[in-house]
Amino acid sequence: MNPLLAQFLAEANDLLAQVDEGLLQLERVPGDPELVNEVFRAAHTFKGSSGLFDFPELTRLTHAAEDLLDAVRGGRLTLDSGMTDDLLAAFDLIRGWLAHVTTHERLPASAGTDAAGLITKLRAPLGGEAAPAAARTAGVPAPVIDVAPDWLAWLDAEWLTETAAWLATTSSTLRFVWYTPDTDCFFRAEDPLHLVRQVPALEKLGVVQPEAWPAPEDYDEYTCMLSFVVVTRAAMGELNHLFRYVPDQIEIVELDSDAITRHLSGEPPLRAEEAVSVVVTAVIDSEVSADARAVLQAAHRALTLEGAVAEGARLRSVRHAVAAAAWALGVPVDVAESSPDELIATVVRLAGEAAPAPVAPIPAQLQTQAVAPHEEKEPVGRADDPGGQVGTRVLKVDQEKVDRLMELVGELNVAKNGLTFLADAAEEEFGSRVLSRRIKDQYAGLHRIAEELQAAVMDVRMLPLSVAFGRFPRLVRDLSRRLGKTIELVTEGEDTMADKDVIEALGDPLVHLVRNSLDHGIETSDERIAAGKHAAAKLTLAAVADGDAVIVEVSDDGRGVDPERVKRKAYEKGLISEEELETLTETEAVDLVFRPGFSTADQVSDLSGRGVGMDAVRASVEKLGGTVTMRSKFGHGTSTRLRLPLSMAVTQVMVFSVGGQRFGIPVDLVVETVRVPAGEMSRVLHQEVVMMRGEVVPVIDLARALDMPSTLAEGADRPILVVSVNNQRVGLLVEQFHREVDVILKPMEGLLAYADEFSGTALLGDGLVLLVLNMKEVLGLAARVA
């Protein structure tokens, strides 16, 4: 793919998320100018970049959205939920298009028709389809012969006479430009002479010097004191283009032989003032002054709108806008201290001076629509804006590249681990302790670098939780509408960072929990009011870092879990015994919802149902090496807490062998390793147990559970790996312990993908593939085998 397009797609993703989030927030805080501005800016950037590619539908649709947002920003429209729906729909459509672009590098064929309806909807509040942009530039006056201005006198009369004769002979005209640069124009990096020399088909240049030069010692070389008269055959359009940045410093007239002759003979057909006013008309009609008038109109509206502009940033920005407009109109005013009333007076005065020109006027309605007044609500001091983005320049890197880097780090680790085997071999096979020592030293150095490298790469992989939380405002909004519940979503700790794999893996469990909460936990407004609660329910998504783990909590203030009902249900479903029905504590009862086959809702709704229960949530979180717990207070709400490792890329694994084959188990789970004399093993019912510090620990024969041959000699000591699973100690009877290693766990693939007793594979330094046990499944397996 074209790297520019790839870049655009990456950026588009962020922008879409920004727009979505902004729009949803706006619905809650309607009219917040900063929020509107944020959304507008995102949409605007979108449009700007979309124009770089051949996606006209995308440009048109974003343009329509931008115009609507701009009207909202300008205070001409109030965003209602209908508009929000349309805007969301527009950006949803764009999201779909971009997915298509990602694979096909072009928009879907249906883009035009898909967009048409939305564009009409988006434009409707603005009063229909906007006039094409070209209409706005129609301010260029038609070639009309002007009256010779008095500055023509700066040109040599002899030359003018010859020229007039030639123009008469050829029935042609010439354009005359009077260019009076601002005295401080050098400080805007303007170089008038450079501009003049770019005038095509230059016929004559006159440089007008000041009437009196200052004394050499008082001369300020940075004050521009020259003016220019430029005579050219270039077309009006060319001149307008060339001088487009200095429209307020030039006058352009088109003269024929007659006009020049009349000037030379000193018989003015019109009085000088009138002539000047005609000239000024042409200039006033330039783009800038049209814009300035629009700014003034907008400022006037803002000022006269009750209470809209009283003080603070809003007033400052209006002052600023008025000053800028006045400057553009060539009548600078000082309004730095003006009150709103004084400002209104100034605006009225300026508007009078800048009354739209009679010649080729731009329709007033068009001006207000096309030249939207941004100024009135634009706060000036944006530098202090805390709502901006992250300050540092962010390098966007393809995920695959980071994954590749991580893989290489993994391979480096593996190669590094290989050195320890080599050291052992040096000692055992070649009998060189010295060499073994030196290899180990090398290993130590390499180990340190590898660790740092790994930490650095891991750091690159860290993403804020906001990435995982991002989809929920939209989800909650849509679902709560469908369910007819009023829900306020609060997110906390979005800045908390976690590995991207963790963030990605969090997605599904979180969606499930949120849906569950919306569907079952949160009551309807009526129920809530009857229960004496606030009609709007609160759903909180919170994240917090806790050492090398991240805790994510989904909590609501809904109806909570009824422990009695849960117990009864579990009993009815045969999940607990009659005895447990009596003895289970409330906490234990709540935990029952995670049991496979449990579903609290009497009917499975289409929201959270889908045949997946809380057990699936627990299973997927545990697969990540995390835990899920639920606390609930009946009648007051539920809180589900996920605890996940901050990073899951590197796992420390304890290696052991069973039946001649090596396996691994995450070190976190290992409590201790012991060797128990065979005689101390005993049996309770069918379960082998061992007494450890007064505690009876069940022992599982891994060889049996995994269906491997047992190779332990009859009377030999029993190597037992004591692990803690779900706060329960379990002994694993293995064959031999090995070392602990850092490995990159890879998910199970291919034939093994369905072997739930393994959570992943890792490559060892000596090239062997290590299977890492999923303890929970292994325990279940052991129970079934027994």
């Binding site: 006159g206 010097q209 070389e221 521009c224």
Partner: protein, 91 residues
């Protein structure tokens, strides 16, 4: 360097930008009988032109650049129409 300044003579070379204006004006102010060569000059910033117009050094050689030769040189050598005459009034 666009400015090659000596005691009484100067060469303007290439594009004389606004950054050179101050130095040029300072030199013109200080030199008693300044002589300026425009032969290798391709462009003069307005500020530089203005300084030359004020201090009126002798132009020792004409510019090779067509625009400067045709439109600017006449202003500096004082053989041009009324627009270039100091102190002349508009009608």
């Amino acid at each position: 360097m666009p400015l090659e300044l000596h005691d009484e003579t100067a060469n303007l070379v290439g594009v004389v930008t606004v950054d050179e204006v101050e130095q040029l004006a300072g030199w013109l102010r200080a030199a008693k009988r300044p002589k300026v060569s425009l032969r290798r000059c391709n462009h003069l910033h307005t500020g530089a032109l203005q300084a030359l117009l004020l201090f009126r050094p002798k132009i020792s050689s004409a510019p090779n650049d067509a625009f400067l030769a045709a439109q600017v040189l006449p202003l500096l050598t004082g053989s041009s129409g009324p627009a270039n005459k100091q102190g002349s009034d508009p009608p």
